[in-house]
């Protein structure tokens, strides 16, 4: 990461905060690459999927992007969020390991099937209220635009935006609370 990348990242984030969706998508892609490298370097043993940390960090960046100080360096801010989410993931895994040891005696015979796409955020999506869930799923899983989603679900574009926003906020809360 050199000075040019940093200033490009700052430019993209500024445009995103001004409401530019395309610049925001580009920013998030670059941030995802940074965080992926960060998480892979730090997760040395199994139990945590680095991509879970990437996704939870991106969601946290999204919910907390107002905590970036305009014209402050972006990379340290992204890494600070990634570090917090990584520690969170370690903390949660510690707890889960304890639960698993307790349950092994009873349920050792039925291992749960786990697919690659079955990530923390995907699981949180499944617990949303139906309206929010279908708005989030239509935009991200099916790749529809806000306008297409509004047409398909018979809602106004504003209502889709609100449902999407509330759905993402609910997912972020659920991840944070575990």
């Amino acid at each position: 990461m050199d000075g040019r990348d940093e200033s490009e990242l700052a430019r993209l984030l500024q445009a995103a905060i001004a409401g530019d969706e395309r610049a925001y998508g580009e920013f998030l892609l670059r941030a995802a690459n940074l965080v992926r490298g960060f998480a892979r370097r730090r997760i040395v043993q199994g139990g945590i999927d680095p991509e879970d940390v990437v996704q939870e960090t991106l969601l946290a960046i999204h919910m907390k992007r107002h905590t970036w100080r305009d014209n402050a360096p972006v990379t340290p801010w992204v890494y600070a969020i990634a570090r917090y989410k990584l520690i969170d993931a370690f903390r949660r895994r510690g707890r889960r390991v304890e639960i698993e040891i307790g349950q092994i005696a009873e349920s050792a015979a039925q291992p749960e099937p786990e697919t690659v796409s079955d990530r923390e955020i995907g699981r949180a999506l499944d617990t949303l209220a139906p309206g929010q869930r279908s708005a989030v799923a239509a935009v991200c899983v099916d790749g529809h635009s806000i306008r297409e989603t509004a047409k398909r679900l018979g809602m106004s574009e504003t209502a889709v935006r609100v449902a999407l926003h509330r759905g993402l906020a609910a997912i972020a809360r659920r991840i944070g609370r575990k």
């Binding site: 925001y24 969020i81 796409s117 999506l125 926003h165």
Partner: protein, 212 residues
Amino acid sequence: MDTNELIRALAADARQQAASISSIWWGAVGLAISLAAAVFFTTLGPRPDIATAAETPRFLFKFVVTITLAASAFGLARTLSRPDESWRKAMPYLAIAPALIVMAVIVELFVLPLDTWSAKLVGTNSMVCLTFIPLMGIGPLTIFLLALRHGATARPALAGAVAGLLAGGIAATFYAAQCMDDSPLFVATWYTIAIAGLALVGAVGAHRFARW
């Protein structure tokens, strides 16, 4: 859900914006001061001899300490609301108010005869102090915990403790206008205990409540 799908959803949500950290904290502190003032004027009110008291250095010095504490805690709480490390630069300012009160205590011990020390320290109002600083501070503290939750602190317990110092500084500033005990010995003892209590509640509260 793969990461590119998530990015698509987040990008589509670009227009939904939250209020800036700076505006949230200024709003929070304005609301907190109004709330503390409302509790102060409906319960205690200023002491009757406030006009003459305002001419004595001991009375005025109480406000220097409490306002310094509140101002330094405000600056620190604001930077602690961001996940990065910039709060470390605001940390030294927090030492100013304790340094002031320590100096004042030393001067007071030189000025006062030995046999009056304990009477000045115990004062006449310590239970009122221990009741009303937390009582006037708890509302502001709740507001500040909400402000911390709106931000993204990487140090929830520390940020909560600082929020408690800020709430305590505001409450103590109002309380100082009522309290008849102006000796730095009294302030250093009882104000500190009351404000530390709020800091502890803030630390525990933010540890549970300001996660993200």
